[in-house]
């Protein structure tokens, strides 16, 4: 493995200062993505800063108002096992449980989970094939290569990669907020604004700046939280990334949808909220599959499949319908 220096941060201010000053420094928490990226030579940091010992960042709090506060260093397995996470936001617990394996969930942290880099095989190719995300300006091998696993929404000629996190899809659907501490203080970033589309700068996965440290995710209380569900469709039944996934939540009045939340994974460079579908679903009956289907279709007018992934457009709509109806059974 590529050699690097390793040091340990004992307080957040020290970590933020070190990250601001050294452009070749990266934070390491669980390491389950970063170690793989270094082994594949997809990233070659000179300095790793171990942030696992930063105090106070691993708590999971069920807030009295019905929301959640999840520290960035909380492990996936602990969040998924937390009974209030499971009761208040089953979609979050399920998204975590459908990701990775038991071993990896014990290692990986929540902050690291949303910082995962794409699983695009060209990005991770040990032979360093053209990839704008890995080497800006080198081209996109997936655009005209094998792109079955790639984006159908929001891609650019520079990058057609998808974001691999399941948790991010659930957090985007539930209007979560990322709490970030940087050199100038703390700020909140709406989850749907945290990851970005590739445009001409696909090397940037999200809006974080140098010196930024994710400290927590906050999930506000939501009427759609309790009746929520995560559906993941993949080539293997377990331990695999999504072809398409759906986070769905619904609140009803007398069997009619008062509000719905839908986000897709596996289809874009960021979790893809179906806002047009959410608006069209209002007042529809949860029993009226045809009405739900046409409401969901509202969000697919701008789908742009690539050579090998047209199947995702139909698959995602069917998955969204099923996820919404399953969420509806939890009311």
């Amino acid at each position: 493995m590529h050699p690097f220096a390793l040091s340990r941060a004992d307080d957040a201010a020290q970590a933020i200062a070190a990250h601001s000053q050294d452009p070749h420094l990266v934070f390491i928490a669980g390491g389950t993505d970063l170690i793989g990226l270094i082994k594949d030579r997809a990233t070659l940091p000179e300095h790793l800063l171990d942030i696992n010992h930063l105090p106070g960042l691993a708590s999971i709090e069920a807030r009295p108002d019905g929301g959640l506060h999840i520290g960035a260093l909380a492990h996936m397995s602990d969040v998924a096992a937390h009974i209030e996470v499971r009761r208040r936001f089953p979609v979050i617990a399920e998204a975590l449980l459908f990701a990775a394996s038991g071993q990896l969930r014990n290692m990986a942290t929540i902050g690291g989970n949303i910082m995962q880099r794409t699983r695009c095989a060209y990005f991770r190719d040990e032979d360093d094939v053209p990839c704008n995300k890995r080497r800006p300006g080198s081209g996109c091998s997936a655009l005209h290569g094998l792109n079955r696993n790639h984006a159908v929404f929001g891609w650019s000629d520079a990058c057609v990669a998808t974001h691999p996190s399941d948790l991010a899809v659930a957090l985007a659907a539930m209007d979560a907020v990322v709490i970030v501490r940087g050199p100038t203080g703390q700020r909140s970033i709406s989850f749907t604004d945290f990851h970005r589309l590739p445009g001409s700068t696909p090397e940037r996965d999200n809006v974080l700046e140098r010196g930024d440290l994710i400290v927590a995710m906050e999930v506000p209380t939501r009427p759609e939280g309790r009746a929520s569900h995560y559906l993941k469709v993949r080539d293997r039944q377990s331990y695999e990334f999504a072809l398409v996934s759906v986070a769905a939540g619904v609140a009803t009045d007398n069997g009619r949808i008062r509000s719905a939340r839908l986000a897709l994974g596996g289809v874009a460079h960021k979790p893809w909220r179906l806002t047009a579908a959410e608006a069209a679903l209002r007042d529809a009956s949860l029993d009226d599959s045809d009405a739900l289907k046409s409401a969901i279709a509202e969000s697919f007018a701008d789908a742009r499949p690539l050579a090998h992934n047209a199947f995702k457009v139909e698959l995602a709509q069917r998955a969204a319908l099923r996820a919404l109806q399953t969420a509806g059974t939890r009311i």
Binding site: I35, G36, A81, I83, R87, S101, G102, Y239
Partner: protein, 209 residues
Amino acid sequence: MSEPRRTAGRDDTVPTRPQPIAQNTDAGLHQAVTPGSEPRLVKLIVNGKDCTVMVEPRTTLLVALREELGLTGTKKGCDRGECGACTVHIEGRRVLSCMTLAAMQDGKRVTTIEGLERDGKLHSVQAEFIEHDGFQCGFCTSGQIMSAVAMIDEAKAGWPSAATADVRKPFAPADLSHTEIRERMSGNLCRCACYPNIVDAVAEAVERS
């Protein structure tokens, strides 16, 4: 601990000099927190014994266990966190030793397959793997067993899985069906495809525990 044994290296074998096991009185033990890419001493409590290893920052826990401590029961399969052959416990939890750095585990309690038996008696999961013929070539077996031992504890602690019908309800160990075991063990691959016997072995161990 005896002088560390050396094993045949793989492509990413970290060159380190054979290191006599240091006493834990050495102030240099905290070198793991100092910056730099130079080798440093890391203290681990492996299978109940205090050990000190000399590692580079890039040395994985897997390499430290196998090549510095001679504990070759833990296997290197994919070395990418995909196969589960390197599964060990850190502080009682199952993890992949190929995906963590030894220097990040300074002071931690590590259990490997060599540390499961008690007073010459096999752990019940080990015994059931033999009873149910839960392996052919045996390469994945130590990872399978380490994973199963910790997985049973997770189920006893009420953790749900992706196979759990309703995650909102408390999970009881009695709910640990074959489907649940398959899902919870999916991070351990077996190229010989001994899965039915592995699941039977784990199910039997659950029943007896």
